[in-house]
């Protein structure tokens, strides 16, 4: 199995730990990832507010690059971990497909740069790839340190399963829950898996953004979770980085580590925590991992 990897801007910055843990996990289970050569921003969200057409064209350049770089016989497979990029690229592909005039306009523009846009490519989120392609069995077989006793709230955020994804249930997603269970931990059932965390509102209309993130954290805490598992760099950022402010604002002890689901898999596979970017989190989940995990000790290098 071969995947082209589209990091997106966040995974090179605030979401670095997501990239590190993702690469480490794929490396351990021997699935090859090749970074998309000279990828550009997918043009999601903020770009959409200025020019829809250019946003689609930005995505289309990435598709053309993927087709060019694809060495497999079948359709190019693009692995996209950031929820915003995943949605943006998916949306662009949908619209190019559904609206022929849009397609020809964008195609014509790409021609100017000798970029060829032909067939569709397959845009995949790591949750999808791990659940559907790699399979829970492979993950289970590779677990050396089962995470028994740990309780996670799996938070999918809004833009992974909504509105274009078809690998999970839009209303009650389960793939992350199953993955967490496959490594021996518990996933609580909670109704807020896809409730919006506020997105960039935490930085723009702060009162509202913080409130939305706060609701998620307090509900997860209420259910006795040790950590919240995320699959998007912005969700992770919102839930983790504003805890101090929320504590002040809502007078509520909120401390709870917010990890990427790839870090959870990595810990269970026995990967060095440093390689998983655990040291980049504000609140280290290491103690929680150590206290609860049954067999084997975690080597701390923080």
């Amino acid at each position: 199995m071969n995947y082209l990897y589209y990091p997106g801007c966040s995974l090179k910055g605030t979401g670095k730990a997501y990239e590190e843990s993702l690469l480490a996990v794929f490396d351990t289970i021997n699935v090859l990832l090749e970074e998309l050569e000279d990828w550009n921003c997918c043009g999601a969200t903020a770009y959409m507010s200025i020019s829809e057409l250019k946003a689609f064209a930005l995505s289309a350049r990435n598709f053309a690059l993927a087709e060019r770089q694809n060495r497999d016989t079948g359709t190019a497979r693009l692995l996209v971990p950031c929820a915003a990029c995943y949605l943006g690229l998916n949306k662009a592909q949908r619209y190019l497909n559904e609206y022929p005039e849009l397609f020809s306009t964008v195609k014509e523009a790409l021609d100017e740069a000798d970029l060829i846009l032909s067939g569709p490519i397959s845009i995949r989120h790591p949750l999808d790839v791990i659940y559907s392609d790699i399979g829970l069995k492979t993950i289970k077989d590779n677990v050396v340190r089962p995470l028994q006793g740990l309780k996670f709230a799996c938070y999918y955020g809004c833009q992974i399963v909504r509105p274009y994804a078809d690998f999970d249930d839009q209303f009650k997603p389960y793939t992350m829950d199953r993955i967490v269970q496959a490594v021996g931990a518990e996933a609580v059932d909670w109704p807020l898996k896809t409730r919006c965390c506020g997105g960039s509102l935490t930085g723009t209309i702060k009162d509202v953004g913080l409130r939305l993130s706060y609701i998620l954290i307090s509900e997860a805490k209420k259910r006795g979770c040790d950590m919240i598992a995320t699959a998007c760099p912005l969700c992770q950022f919102n839930l983790e980085c504003y805890q101090k402010e929320m504590r002040k604002l809502y007078r509520h002890e909120l401390d709870i580590p917010i990890v990427y689901f790839t870090q959870i898999i990595g810990m269970a596979l026995g990967i060095d925590p440093h390689k998983l970017g655990l040291h980049r989190l504000f609140m280290s989940p290491l103690t929680a991992f150590q206290m609860r995990a049954t067999s084997g000790g975690v080597h701390v290098r923080n």
């Binding site: 921003c41 609206y99 100017e112 909504r162 509105p163 980049r280």
Partner: protein
């Protein structure tokens, strides 16, 4: 006793702008908005509606009625976090999130938003940085946003910035792609007259930067 709340605000028939709805409906798939049954599912699903001045359902009704100014100047579209809850639940498959984006684009184009309001500024800075270098540089974006909106906030925020920096998650380095010219010719091609015409037919408005 009820307190006197001033004059009730009335929109007169003569003030309605019937072209407005067609402009919005011209985005891809936008004509579905004519089928809205005002059921309110979108408002019920929207996690932001308690904070909005008009709920998503009201926005659709107002667009159809032709209340151009009221729609362009409200806070609803700025509060929309593009979470797509409304879009997936609407029984008439109306693409509400796309409509919110269309209203945002129009408001930005016409400059209808409070001064120093962070959202259009963020959108614009993001746009410029990507148009220029093909990628966005998170750190620079945040810095510019604070300088253009409220410089004092920057100092309050530096605590967070510093912590992120220490964790290796924040940098002011400029991110860029290698073949900028390639991207530029794509973007330029979209700006030629012929293209602008076909894009107007597509209902994709021309952008303006602040």
């Amino acid at each position: 006793m009820e307190e006197w709340r001033g004059w009730r605000k009335i929109s007169y028939e003569s003030e309605l702008d019937h072209l407005f709805v067609n402009e919005i409906a011209s985005i891809p798939g936008g004509d579905k908005l004519f089928t809205c049954i005002q059921c309110g599912t979108c408002s019920g699903m929207c996690p932001l509606s308690p904070y909005m001045d008009y709920t998503p359902r009201q926005i659709i009704a107002m667009i159809r009625a032709g209340l151009r100014w009221e729609v362009l100047s409200c806070y609803t579209t700025w509060l929309c976090a593009s979470c797509y809850s409304c879009t997936v639940e609407c029984p008439k498959e109306i693409k509400l999130t796309d409509i919110m984006y269309a209203v945002k684009r129009m408001a930005i184009k016409q400059g209808v938003y409070p001064k120093k309001f962070p959202i259009p500024i963020l959108a614009n800075e993001f746009f410029k940085s990507v148009e220029d270098s093909g990628r966005s540089s998170e750190g620079r974006l945040i810095l510019k946003l604070f300088l253009k909106t409220n410089p004092l906030k920057l100092f309050r925020q530096t605590g967070l910035g510093l912590s992120l920096f220490l964790k290796g998650r924040f940098s002011l380095k400029k991110e860029t792609i290698q073949r900028k010219n390639e991207l530029r010719s794509v973007i330029k091609a979209l700006e030629t007259e012929h293209m602008v015409k076909s894009r107007e037919e597509l209902g994709l408005l021309k952008e303006t930067t602040i």
